[in-house]
C-alpha cells in the first residue's frame, strides 16, 4: 500500500507529466480557460490514460511480446487509444452536451495527446507489473488533471488582469506555465522515506 502511495506521489507530483516531462501541452494550453472544462478534460484524459494503460499492458504482455511484434507497438497503441477516445467522446456527448461543446476539438484530440501515448510507452518500458502500471498511469493522469485545474484557476484570474497587449493570450499562458514548472521543481528529488 505504502509503495503505491509513493508511486502515486512520484508520478503525480515529482515527475509531473506536464510540468516536468512536458507532455500533453496541447490540451494544457487549449482547455485551461475555465475550471469547469478543465475538470471535464482532466477526467476524460484520466479515464483514457488509465484505460489505455491497462489495454496496452495487456497487448504488450500477451500479444506483442509473445509474437515478437515489438515494431507494431506504436501502431497498436494508437489504435487502442483512438478507440478509447471515440468511446469517451460518445459518452460525453450523450451525458453532457455543454461539456462536449466546451471541450470542442480538444476532445477527439485526446487521441493525439502525447501524454496518453507517452505514459503508455513509458509504462511498457518499465516492464512493471499490471497493478504497478495501472497505478503509475493513474498517478500520471491525476497529476495531469491537478495541474490542468491549477492552471485553469490561474488563467481565470489572468483573464481579468491587465496583461500588456504583446503578451495577452497564449504568450502569457506559456510564461505562466513556465513559472508553474519552476514551482513544481520544488518537488524534484522528493523521496518519501
Amino acid at each position: 500500500m505504502g509503495e503505491f502511495l509513493i508511486l502515486l506521489v512520484s508520478t503525480a507530483l515529482v515527475n509531473n507529466v506536464v510540468l516536468i516531462k512536458f507532455l500533453g501541452l496541447c490540451p494544457f494550453m487549449g482547455v485551461s480557460k475555465n475550471t469547469e472544462s478543465a475538470l471535464g478534460m482532466g477526467l476524460a484524459t484520466t479515464f483514457v490514460i488509465t484505460l489505455a494503460t491497462a489495454a496496452t499492458w495487456i497487448l504488450e504482455t500477451w500479444l506483442l511480446q509473445p509474437f515478437g511484434l515489438g515494431y507494431l507497438r506504436i501502431l497498436t497503441f494508437i489504435l487502442v487509444i483512438a478507440a478509447t477516445v471515440q468511446f469517451v467522446e460518445m459518452v460525453v456527448k450523450k451525458s453532457s452536451p455543454e461539456l462536449y461543446q466546451a471541450l470542442g476539438i480538444y476532445l477527439p484530440l485526446i487521441t493525439t495527446n502525447c501524454a496518453v501515448l507517452g505514459i503508455a510507452l513509458l509504462n511498457v518500458m518499465e516492464k512493471s507489473s499490471f497493478v504497478h502500471s495501472m497505478v503509475a498511469g493513474f498517478g500520471s493522469a491525476l497529476g495531469f488533471t491537478l495541474v490542468l485545474l491549477i492552471f485553469a484557476g490561474l488563467r481565470e484570474r489572468l483573464a481579468l488582469a491587465r496583461v500588456p497587449a504583446a503578451f495577452a493570450g497564449a504568450p502569457i499562458g506559456f510564461v505562466l506555465a513556465s513559472l508553474l514548472a519552476l514551482a513544481f521543481m520544488g518537488f524534484s528529488g522528493l523521496q518519501l522515506k
Binding site: L59, L63, F67, L69, L72, L75, T76, L79, V80, A83, Q86, F87, M90, V91, K93, K94, P97, E98, Q101, A102, R162
Partner: protein, 181 residues
C-alpha cells in the same frame, strides 16, 4: 507477417464492434437547441441579421455559422442569453450598444400610403389610407423594417431619450487610465 496482419485485424475488428455497439448505446438525438435558441430570439423576423427570419438565425447559431451578436434589436441581453445557451464566451465590450431607437413618422411628409403598416413585424404603426400614420412607441422594436418602405422618406429612427429612470452610470475609466494617457 501473418501474425502481425492477423493480430491487427483482430484488434481492429474487436474495437470496431465495441465502438459500433457503443454508438448504438450512446446515440444522441439531434439536439433541440435550435428550438431553444429560436425561443430566445425576438421572433419579429425583421431580417437585420441577414438570415431568413429568426428561425434561420437560430439554425445558423446552432451550426456555429453566426455569432451570438447576430441580432441587433436583441441588444446585450440577448447576446448574453444566446452565449450562455451556446456555451461560448463573447466580449461585450466590442458590441456598440447605441441605445434603443424607435421609428418616428414626420407628419408633413407622410402621404398615408399604408406600405409601412404592412411591413411592421409588431403592428406598431397605426393608420389608414390617406391618413397620417403614427408609431406606437411602446410597440416599436426599432427593427428599421419600415424605414426603406416609405416612398417619401418620412420615417426616421430616433434614439429613445434618456430619462432619470433609464440613466445608467457610465463605466469608470480603468485604474491608472490617466497614467496611460
Amino acid at each position: 507477417m501473418i501474425a502481425a496482419i492477423l493480430s491487427l485485424s483482430l484488434l481492429g475488428l474487436i474495437l470496431g464492434f465495441g465502438l459500433g455497439f457503443a454508438a448504438k448505446k450512446f446515440a444522441v438525438e439531434t439536439d433541440a437547441r435550435v428550438a431553444e435558441l429560436e425561443a430566445l430570439m425576438p421572433g419579429t423576423n425583421c431580417g437585420q441579421c441577414g438570415f431568413p427570419g429568426c428561425s434561420g438565425a437560430a439554425a445558423a447559431l446552432a451550426d456555429g455559422k453566426a455569432s451570438p451578436t447576430v441580432c441587433p434589436p436583441g441588444g446585450k441581453a440577448l447576446i448574453q442569453a444566446l452565449a450562455a445557451k451556446l456555451g461560448v464566451s463573447v466580449d461585450l465590450s466590442g458590441v456598440a450598444d447605441e441605445g434603443p431607437k424607435i421609428a418616428a413618422i414626420e407628419e408633413e411628409i407622410c402621404i398615408g400610403c399604408c406600405r409601412c403598416l404592412k411591413d411592421c413585424p409588431t403592428d406598431a404603426i397605426v393608420g389608414a389610407a390617406k391618413q397620417i400614420h403614427a408609431v406606437m412607441r411602446e410597440a416599436c422594436t426599432g427593427c428599421e423594417a419600415c424605414v426603406d418602405r416609405c416612398p417619401t422618406g418620412a420615417i426616421t429612427m430616433d434614439p429613445v431619450p434618456i430619462t432619470l429612470q433609464h440613466w445608467v452610470w457610465p463605466k469608470p475609466l480603468s485604474e491608472g487610465a490617466k497614467a496611460w494617457a
